[in-house]
Amino acid sequence: MSRAPGFADRSADACADAQLQANLKSAVLHFQRNRAKAFAAFPGSEAARDLVRDVKDAALSRLPDLLRELERSVTALGGAVHWARDGAEACAILAEIAAEAEASTAVKGKSMVTEEIALNPALEAAGLEVYETDLAEYIIQLAGEPPSHIMAPAVHKNRRQVGELFAKKLGAEYTEDPTELTNIARTTLRRRFLRADLGVTGANAALADSGIVVLVENEGNIRMSTTAPRVHVAVMGIEKVLPGPAEAAAMLAVLARSASGQKMSSYTSFLAGPRRDGERDGAQAFHLVLLDNGRSRILADPELRQTLRCLRCGACLNVCPVYEKAGGHAWGSPYCGPIGTCMTPLLGKGRGRDLPFACTGCGACAEVCPARIDLPGVIMALRRKAAEDPAFPDPAERGGPPLSAAAAKLFVKVAGSPGLFRAAASLARTLDPGLALASRLAPGLRAWTRTRKPPRLRTPFTASWPALARNLKGQALKGGRP
């Protein structure tokens, strides 16, 4: 069993970083408490989660029709709809929109899907200046780092690190005070908003019956990006379309509570195409880019398609013991935590063969998912695929199933015969009762025993059963203790 690269190496680095460990623990406990408090005060919460699951499944079962209806509605509003099979196509579409609009600067709201398609480098290559405007995204953009949490992308940084970053990259006077740091970002970015040509956002949902795009945030940067610039482009995964307002309300009832413990986020916006005659703000042109990038493939798999219900709330990350120690960067993907484990091997070209095994199977994620995705079940299905399908999801990657096919067959052979099973245990007990030899030979066991004293192999229970059985019979007859 060779040590898997990728997650194993990155998570090992994370565990060795004391500052990161402190930041992560503090963050997840904070989010856990907030979510727990909000749900404890929400009497209809279980029904609300059932509703989200049903709403999403119903929408997925009609996805092609809903997307067609959405396209008609957006077009009727004066917007334009574009379809992208993969990330490269989506980036090309956006570059073309920017070129036609003669845009030179873009402001961006936090959007997982734009990270997924690596939009920023593509727009920059096309000659645009691109500014992330969500405070955490702005911080990591300045630092040149990827996000480490779906909801709080800069959770791995503390105030001192942000202060140093702002001083270095913005020439600001050094401060560690979060309010002062936020004001620096506000002032700098306010100028950008007012001068940008293009506002790029994701979308929490799009409503087929009206063409409305739903956007949820706390900072106001998405409102700024869709109010000040003359063009608004929303990029959205095809699985996010909903039939109409009732479904949107069902989603909103649980989204902010799951993500941050608020009943509603500071701003929930329902945007319907470009501004109307007589209006003086809002975008003058609206584009919706619909992205597949593997989602249609996920829909085709009955075991995996529930992954498409995801609301991107981040609740699963916040309760995942592995996330708490490894941090988001260990996933090497814009999607981290349990949902990241499920999506990363399936989106785009797919990668992260080791991810499904980087899970203790504790089930905490499923307990909090507002869409009732059976994350542990999906992860188990992905393990099976990783073991059975040599093409899954990136054969060039090392790592994956801890038991080779040969070892698995040997195990079945031995465990298929009580005699062989007993003999194997007996042999191990004779040769290496303290598992000392095994620890030296197997690198995985070696790592295990670095921090643990291995148990000793013992005389098997079955061997002592006959005597015990007689003793228990005596106890039962006496009606007392053995």
């Binding site: 503090s26 029904a47 979060p178 909103l252 941050s260 329902f270 003086r280 009955p302």
Partner: protein
């Protein structure tokens, strides 16, 4: 290229569903029963608004409403303001209060570029509220000509007036039916509806809550009971 991709994606989805239809749950999702229209519950609204970091005041007359505005102007040193073109603002005589306090009000007929500039230099934006959600203390603002998005976004202080024009929604679930009703004569929804719950905020730096990131630092909600 986009048309080809459209066909490719749609047929991939159709094939996916034909292969294995989505397991059926209930025939239709069980949406909650629509609640009866709510009477104003000012204590509930006050509690939610203040929990979210906003300010709340109840004005029992037009005069009290003007007084609340005057206090806000004084507290925040307001020198320039932008107002919605809204019957309640006119009816309550707010322009008068601002004039008396020496506050410069952005003229209503500015061209879009000038309007954007002016709004970004204002200290206060005053809007009405098309709806409020009692459960969450949310104020809902619909964008229309003369009722700009920027008014509740650019200035650091946003005053939202809850008046007889405001529909009272008991819960977040009621947003669904309400939203469904917001259609113009042409059948189109408004170009923008903003649900505002508290001032702009972030906790991105060490989870320390900071108010006023890109949107207003202060949200003031004044509920006005006009008897006369």
């Amino acid at each position: 290229m986009s048309d080809e991709s459209r066909e490719h994606i749609l047929s991939a989805l159709e094939d996916a569903l034909a292969q294995a239809p989505v397991a059926s749950g209930p025939a239709a999702p069980a949406f909650p029963e629509p609640a009866d229209p709510a009477a104003p519950d000012w204590p509930a609204l006050a509690r939610e608004v203040t929990t979210n970091g906003g300010r709340f005041a109840l004005a029992r007359s037009a005069a009290e409403a003007r007084g609340a505005l005057a206090s806000l102007v004084k507290a925040f040193g307001v020198r320039r303001a932008v107002l919605w073109d809204h019957p309640a603002l006119a009816r309550l005589g707010l322009a008068d209060t601002l004039a008396k306090a020496g506050v410069e009000v952005a003229p209503p007929d500015l061209a879009p570029a000038e309007f954007k500039e002016a709004a970004s230099e204002c200290d206060l934006g005053v809007t009405g509220a098309d709806a409020v959600i009692l459960e969450s203390g949310t104020v809902v603002a619909i964008a229309r000509p003369g009722r700009e998005r920027a008014t509740s976004l650019f200035p650091p202080v946003h005053l939202a007036l809850v008046t007889r024009e405001t529909e009272i929604l008991p819960g977040i679930a009621d947003l669904g039916p309400w939203l469904a009703r917001q259609r113009g004569e042409d059948g189109r929804p408004p170009s923008a509806i903003h649900c505002i719950t508290g001032p702009s905020s972030t906790a991105d730096i060490e989870l320390v809550k900071v108010r006023g990131v890109h949107g207003p630092t202060t949200l003031a909600v004044v509920a006005v009971e006009e008897n006369a």
